[in-house]
């Protein structure tokens, strides 16, 4: 079968514990198996979200009714947003690649609390079920947008409570993952693995974990308040009882802005691994990248108000938030400069993960720079709540986190599954996907500047041409997606066996067999003075 390793004569994929078959997976506390469980469940949710996205684009193909009613459309973007944000990109890279690789990268046998790790996954599944229950039972799926803004979220007659509790449980799952990673990184580094020798992916997970831990509870309590409002009418956000809907927005964004950095930091970490490996060169500015990671994590906590420029905040709050929004963009810029400098005088081996990485940099720049347009006070007043914002966040959430996810998947695939994928198909898939992506979201920038509001089921004739192009792009992109996924699924089962270190990487996961043995290392690794995650010769 698979390439075997010394421990128990089995790798983690084929290992037989107390439970057999499926149970051996869903009750496994092995971090690698949990990572794969996350991969499969996230991929399922992701596919659901993509189908909803396609349905929306279909509806927007022409003004007036195309395939669905207004109510269905409103429910569709809400569910699409909730799935993509809470179930796909927030857990995304940390729960999948963080789980599978972080312990290996720091030379540990597992995470600090393996059972808690399994519990996180179970909670994730429970959260998903609750949200899905909101769709299938009761009086219709939630129709508030993923932001659940008060007071609409307690006026609507749709089935909000399960969705709110689902989001709460998902948040709890995310907190526990963060907690586990923090303790693991603090306590389980192998001898010689000093903080300054940690791979950058681990550093970004560390920063991310702090945000998960400190921001998520705020949205948790906010959602609880909305639920209580719906059940008892406590009046906390209800203007009729003296509550202030803007305070709801503050609390919501206190979490949800940092959450966007939960999404992007691990993505940046993965890119920071891939670029040095394929350039066969030491990462440029290791310490600067660490500093910028921590700066993003910290400053990112203090800029939430840029989502509320038109909500009616006081003047000083607006200047403050705009100023800090610009400042938080700088660490991202530093990262981009360092990545590009890493390529300088490298010896670049252009492979699929590297294609994904450079296209990541490109779309991330577009997404990030459009973020500057939104961060600026005057311009945001015009484009707030228009298709421009939708373009911004698809570019950066999907273009950023999504592309990095694919980059990471193609990078670590041989390690995780012990098999290699078909590179020609992988590259073709990437190209089609990339073209589709540009065609899908670029027109939205234009539509937003023209003034087309977001969350619009129907639109005026003047916005028609942009929408046609965008819908067309969505079809191209899905073609690319299918090529990629089919190729990966086939290769996971039938691909040629992979070497231990196909890309000549320097981090610890490349020193062990592919797929890794159950306890990762036969003997605990020791890092010497001159070793390092990027010490290429």
């Amino acid at each position: 079968m698979q390439t075997t390793s010394a421990v128990n004569g089995a790798n983690y994929l084929t290992y037989q514990g107390k439970y057999k078959g499926l149970l051996g997976w869903i009750f496994s506390t092995d971090h690698k198996r949990i990572g794969l469980l996350y991969l499969y469940s996230i991929a399922t949710m992701f596919t659901t979200g993509v189908l909803l996205g396609l349905a929306m684009k279909f509806e927007l193909l022409a003004p007036g009714k195309t395939i669905m009613e207004a109510q269905t459309y409103n429910a569709t973007f809400t569910v699409h947003g909730v799935i993509m944000i809470f179930m796909v990109v927030i857990p995304g890279l940390p729960a999948v690649f963080g789980n599978i690789l972080m312990p290996i990268m720091i030379g540990a046998k597992d995470v600090a609390f393996p059972k808690l790790n399994l519990l996180s996954w179970w909670l994730y599944v429970l959260g998903v079920m609750l949200v899905l229950a909101a769709l299938l039972f009761g009086n219709g799926s939630p129709d508030t947008g993923w932001t659940f803004y008060a007071p609409y979220s307690f006026k609507t007659g749709t089935n909000m409570l399960p969705a709110i509790f689902g989001a709460f449980v998902l948040g709890f799952s995310s907190i526990l993952t963060g907690l586990n990673f923090l303790v693991t990184i603090h306590r389980l580094r192998c001898p010689g693995m000093k903080w300054t020798k940690l791979p950058l992916f681990v550093w970004t997970l560390y920063g991310t974990a702090w945000i998960q831990l400190l921001a998520t509870p705020v949205v948790g309590i906010t959602l609880v308040l909305v639920a209580l409002e719906r059940i008892f009418g406590v009046g906390i956000f209800d203007p009729a009882l003296g509550g202030d809907p803007i305070l709801y927005q503050h609390l919501f964004w206190i979490y949800s802005h940092p959450a966007v950095y939960i999404m992007i930091l691990p993505a940046m970490g993965a890119i920071s691994e891939i670029i040095p490996t394929f350039s066969q060169k030491h990462i440029f500015g290791y310490k600067a990248i660490i500093a910028s990671t921590m700066a993003i994590a910290f400053v990112g906590y203090l800029v939430w108000g840029h989502h509320m420029y038109t909500a009616g905040m006081s003047g000083p709050a607006q200047y403050y938030f705009s100023l800090l929004t610009f400042i938080v963009a700088i660490p991202s810029a530093i990262k981009v400069f360092n990545w590009i400098s890493t390529m300088y005088k490298g010896s670049i081996n252009v492979q699929t993960p590297f294609y994904w990485a450079i296209s990541f940099i490109f779309v991330f720049m577009i997404g990030g720079l459009s973020g500057l347009v939104l961060g600026s006070l005057a311009t945001d007043v015009h484009v707030h709540d228009t298709a421009f914002v939708v373009a911004h966040f698809h570019y950066i959430v999907f273009g950023g986190t999504g592309f990095a996810f694919f980059a990471a998947l193609h990078y670590w695939f041989p390690k995780i599954f012990g098999r290699m994928y078909d590179k020609a198909w992988a590259n073709t898939g990437w190209l089609v996907f990339f073209i589709g992506f540009l065609a899908l979201y670029t027109p939205m920038f234009y539509l937003g500047l023209m003034g087309m509001p977001r969350r619009y089921y129907d639109y005026l004739e003047e916005f028609h041409s942009g929408n046609i192009l965008s819908t067309f792009g969505s079809w191209v992109m899905v073609t690319g997606f299918v090529i990629i996924i089919v190729n990966l699924i086939r290769s996971a089962r039938k691909g040629a066996p992979a070497e231990a270190n196909p890309w000549h990487g320097k981090t610890l996961e490349w020193t062990i067999p592919s797929p890794p043995p159950v306890l990762n290392f036969e003997t605990e690794p020791v890092i010497g003075e001159n070793d390092g995650p990027y010490n290429y010769e």
């Binding site: 514990g17 609390f113 303790v183 603090h186 509870p217 948790g220 906390i236 305070l247 159950v518």
Partner: protein, 207 residues
């Protein structure tokens, strides 16, 4: 399950890991309440008069009694960690039991306090509140019920953890060599205390 995992994974017990794990969890709890404290302080700032008036309706004596007993229970549970380290297992168990009982007394007090409010027709969304109170007062009582309610929920969780700890101590799972469960139970209980230290003045004292 237990056994299989020891094969799959060697014993990973580490006192310091458990401790920081607990602290990290406490941080999230602090921020959970933190969200409510933000709401409270904003609404207090916006409705000073109403909060003043509404605050007078709460019974200071019950509040003070609850503060005192909660502080005492905090001490007893802290002492039990010392007892365990000195090897006095029985004393340690007894001290946790005392803390548990005090926690229960706190809940009983709370029950009567809320009961009085209910009998006056004050509960979230009650018609009397809507009819007679100003918006600020409604907010005050809304927050009062949510915050003390959530705190009471934490007391209950803390007491459940105590039950497990007592069991652990009794059957020898929690020992001088593996004291983390008791320590963490203590940390959690102190967190509950810490939150009350702020809730008490905010609701009962500031008029």
């Amino acid at each position: 399950m237990e056994h299989a995992h020891h094969v799959e994974h060697p014993d990973m017990y580490d006192e310091e890991s458990s401790k920081i794990g607990m602290w990290l969890f406490i941080f999230t709890e602090l921020l959970l309440f933190g969200g409510l404290f933000i709401v409270y302080s904003i609404y207090r700032y916006l409705n000073p008069e109403a909060f003043h008036l509404a605050g007078e309706e709460l019974n200071r004596t019950i509040g003070t009694i609850n503060t005192v007993i909660l502080l005492i229970s905090s001490m007893t549970i802290a002492m039990s960690t010392t007892a365990l380290r000195k090897g006095h297992k029985k004393v340690a168990i007894a001290l946790v039991v005392v803390s548990f009982v005090i926690g229960f007394a706190f809940l009983v007090n709370k029950y009567f306090e809320w009961g009085v409010k209910f009998s006056h027709g004050i509960w979230p969304g009650s018609e009397q509140m809507l009819a007679e109170m100003s918006q600020g007062e409604i907010l005050f009582f809304g927050l009062y019920f949510v915050m003390t309610g959530l705190h009471a929920l934490h007391i209950i969780i803390g007491m459940i953890i105590m039950l497990f700890t007592i069991r652990g101590l009794a059957i020898g799972k929690v020992t001088i060599k593996r004291p983390s469960m008791l320590d963490n139970c203590g940390l959690y209980w102190h967190l509950v205390d810490l939150i009350w230290i702020f809730l008490f003045p905010l609701f009962y004292l500031i008029h």
